[in-house]
């Protein structure tokens, strides 16, 4: 390793041509299906997740339509049960987690200055398995076998005695698909951040967003196994050929065991969704305040603290069950404790805005919306952390209001901010600022009109998960208001979609760094080339595009006739060795087909699990052995 003179213009254009040849995928359908480019796969994650967001939004609109007037006969109780179950399951498993991981998988390699994620083929597998899981759930819904026991599928309701048929099994299997995918993405992100950072990016120079995604990935690794396990246990209890008794009280099983295992995943899940969103907020605030974040270390430590405390809160979802008094007090304390790191973050953000020179563009607007809504959701959260109040409003619309304030405020608003912020990087064009502001205001007003009345409805005693209500209970007006608000939110999403479609074709050309942001993803072209950077960068500060000298050295000496990346040491990011990444591959999609067939079969009979292992092994054997040269199958780009 040594310093040399930078390559001249001739050399650069030769390298560029070679890299382009090596990193581009082949044209045509086969190339499209077999790509391992993290940017293409991530955009598919984002688009697919957004598709599911819209689908679940339509389900929500149907529910609001049903509830808009009392004694409504539009949707019956059976379909209504399926609607709220699929709505919740989609938003949690098919939208919130995948979209956060999708954005992370796009940005992390760019922000840390490398060419692709650590395991590109595994990454493609993760996406396809996720897509298959989503299609299974919606396939079920359209065939009237959509799950109908809530997004958490509590036993005994979801057990074999009270939910015969296959509806719950479709839910359980959708979990298996999506969690395989989430765990794959978690591993990708951790290894990529650990080993592929640009030389000089020691851990104190990692951008805050990368920290957020990294911490989330660790949470995924410890939380997701719980839901995979519990849904598998549920499926085994339900399957007549197996008939285990994990949750069968008559044979010593325990319904509360289900709740414990589920919420051991379910509570960290909230932070799995929220922590990447704080990464968006920190990034957007830093860029638009035109200064480094106030309290960067405090922010990172708050995220880590949140991740740890997040694993100690799950029982507060179970205050209405017979958990020991001491346990309740402990989890009340822990639930209030987590307000501290969240508070630290909010104060750091306010201080950054206060002492900076804020530029009021649409991404920042969404962040301000996040402040207002999330703080309100946090306040009702502190209220719900107290057991007596929780018991009073348990299973009422107050809880629905609370978690929509937390999740939409805490995740969807920052996510829309992130869409507006990184859209130029993804497509090369700016979104229309006027329509963006309109989107924000419609969404902000629509959201509050929908969910604020629900606090009052809950305090007045309106229970969740009822398909209708009597006219003389005094809930008519507020329900109508909530339904109108839902419609306004729907219009806001349509506005956003229109903006995307219009700007993608005719938006203003963005250039490399339209926001004058400090992180490395803005150092390359918009959209980035398949190889991300012509030469992998090195960094000398946390904000390389603001504070590094223009002649900061870049990395040369990687071969340009195969897909090589530089790996660096974990703490100090000193160059360590060169790693060759695989070519594009047809095995991920083939393996997905085999996995999907196996998991679908297992819904009906346990034997497909054993039989499916054979083709799975054959495909994995081939995966290990060699990649089929796609350039022979399709014409090279």
């Amino acid at each position: 390793m040594r310093l040399v003179e930078a390559p001249d213009q001739t050399r650069r254009s030769v390298d560029e041509k070679n890299l382009h040849h090596v990193w581009s995928r082949v044209e045509g359908v086969i190339g499209w299906l077999c790509t391992t480019n993290h940017k293409e796969i991530s955009l598919r994650y984002i688009i697919t997740a957004f598709g599911f967001f819209c689908a679940a939004g339509v389900l929500a609109l149907l529910m609001r339509l049903q509830l808009s007037v009392p004694n409504n006969r539009l949707i019956g109780p059976d379909l209504y049960n399926q609607l709220f179950t699929v709505h919740g399951s989609t938003m949690m498993f098919l939208f919130a987690v995948p979209v956060m991981e999708g954005v992370g998988l796009y940005l992390v390699p760019l922000m840390i200055g490398t060419r692709n994620v650590a395991f590109p083929r595994l990454n493609a597998l993760g996406y396809y398995v996720y897509l298959a899981g989503g299609l299974v759930l919606y396939g079920g819904l359209f065939c009237n076998i959509g799950p109908d026991t809530g997004w958490f599928s509590y036993v005994p309701l979801a057990g074999p005695d009270f939910s015969p048929g296959k509806r719950v099994d479709f839910w359980a299997q959708m979990i298996t698909f999506t969690e395989i995918s989430a765990l794959i993405a978690g591993i990708e992100i951790i290894v990529t951040v650990f080993k592929q950072r640009a030389p000089g990016m020691s851990i104190d120079r990692i951008p805050i967003y990368v920290w957020a995604v990294l911490i989330t990935a660790f949470m995924v690794i410890f939380a997701m196994p719980a839901v995979m396990l519990v849904s598998t246990m549920l499926a085994m209890d339900r399957m007549s050929h197996v008939a285990t008794h994990f949750f069968n009280v008559a044979e010593g099983g325990d319904a509360l065991l289900y709740q414990h295992l589920f919420w051991f995943f379910g509570h960290p899940e909230v932070y799995i969704i929220f922590i990447p969103a704080t990464g968006f907020v920190s990034t957007i605030i830093g860029t638009f305040s035109r200064r480094p974040l106030v309290g960067h270390s405090a922010l990172v430590l708050s995220l880590i603290a949140t991740a740890f405390i997040g694993f100690g809160l799950w029982v507060h979802h179970m205050f209405a069950t017979p958990v020991p008094i001491l346990g309740r007090s402990f989890f009340t304390g822990a639930s209030m404790l987590i307000a501290i790191p969240s508070g630290v973050q909010i104060f750091c953000w306010i201080a950054t805005l206060w002492t900076g020179k804020p530029v009021w563009k649409s991404p920042l607007l969404f962040v301000l919306g996040f402040f207002a809504i999330f703080v309100l959701g946090g306040l009702t959260g502190v209220m719900l952390a107290s057991v007596p109040l929780d018991l009073q409003v348990h299973d009422t619309f107050f809880v629905v209001a609370h978690f929509h304030y937390v999740l939409i405020g805490g995740a969807v608003f920052p996510l829309f901010g992130a869409f507006h912020y990184w859209f130029p990087k993804w497509t090369g064009r700016m979104l229309d600022e006027g329509i963006a502001k309109l989107t924000f205001w419609l969404m902000f007003i629509g959201f509050n009109l929908t969910f604020f009345p629900m606090h009052q409805l809950g305090l007045e005693g309106m229970p969740r998960r009822v398909y209708t209500y009597h006219a003389n209970l005094g809930w008519n007006g507020l329900n109508m208001a909530a339904s109108i608000g839902a419609g306004v939110m729907g219009i806001a999403v349509l506005c956003f979609l229109y903006n995307v479609l219009k700007s993608r074709r005719s938006g203003v050309i963005a250039g490399n760094n339209p926001w004058q942001a400090p992180t490395l993803e803005w150092a390359t072209t918009s959209p980035p080339q398949p190889y991300n950077f012509l030469y992998q960068p090195t960094v000398n500060s946390m904000h390389p595009l603001w504070f590094d000298r223009p002649n900061q050295p870049f990395v040369v000496g990687l071969k340009t006739d195969r897909r090589e990346v530089l790996t660096t040491t974990l703490l100090h990011a000193v160059p360590e060795h060169i790693h060759e990444l695989p070519e594009d591959s047809c095995w991920p999609i083939l393996l997905t087909v085999v996995i999907s067939g196996t998991l679908l079969g297992v819904i009906f009979n346990p034997w497909p699990f054993v039989i499916g292992m054979i083709p799975m092994y054959i495909v994995l054997f081939a995966w290990f052995w060699r990649d089929i040269d796609l350039k022979h199958l399709g014409r090279a780009k």
Partner: protein, 209 residues
């Protein structure tokens, strides 16, 4: 050399590494973390269900004699624990040989590990058959069968991976990249063996104390 416009030439760095510096090594570690979490949650479930019973293992009223609550037999359990521990020897041998890129020793080490894996899988089937209860007897039985069955699956999967490595080493000999894969696989096998020791103690020894 000018001080303006310099570049960092890394062409003399090694390609691929055989230890914790490699990406695959880290991927494998995280995989093991995930699977350890699964086992830990199963153990937690086991202990949670235990609170529902006065006697542990729970009596089986449907059996004759009716209240017999047999402990799982320790000698039967040892029929897999001891072979598992012995199987470490060829795996460590293959691991060490891979570090020195000795193809022949790797082949032999892997061959013996595959044999060991096959034998242990058979012994585990036998162990399951001799458990004094079936998986659908009660919640206790369900969890013990799941723990044993899940671990059996890991033995089978790790052995299948060894077969792939062995096939590669026989057909293509051994380059640095595949020596790394052998080593990563060896780490996985150590984990498969290691995780069974506490599980054995919980399933076989735990109920007696």
């Amino acid at each position: 050399m000018k001080t303006e416009n310099v570049a960092l030439d890394v062409s003399d760095l090694p390609v691929s590494e055989l230890d914790h510096r490699s990406l695959v090594w880290w991927g494998n570690v995280l995989m093991m973390v995930i699977e350890t979490t699964v086992f830990a949650l199963l153990v937690a479930s086991y202990l949670y269900v235990r609170m529902n019973f006065g006697h542990w293992p729970p009596p089986q009223p449907n059996r004759f004699p009716p209240l017999a609550a047999e402990y799982p037999s320790i000698p039967m359990g040892l029929t897999t624990v001891i072979p598992l521990l012995i199987s470490l020897i060829p795996m460590i041998w293959a691991d060490r040989a891979a570090l020195k890129l000795k193809a022949n020793a790797v082949r032999w080490g892997l061959f013996l590990s595959i044999l060991a894996g096959g034998v242990i899988a058979y012994l585990r089937f036998r162990e399951l058959r001799y458990l004094p209860f079936d998986w659908d007897d009660n919640a206790y039985a369900s969890i013990v069968w799941t723990l044993c069955g899940m671990h059996l699956m890991h033995i089978v999967v790790a052995t299948c991976e060894n077969i792939v490595m062995f096939a590669w080493a026989v057909v293509h000999s051994l380059d640095k990249k595949h020596a790394r894969d052998v080593r990563v696989n060896a780490v996985y096998w150590y984990w498969v063996v290691g995780i069974w020791v506490p599980l054995f103690c919980i399933i076989y020894v735990g109920p007696r104390i």
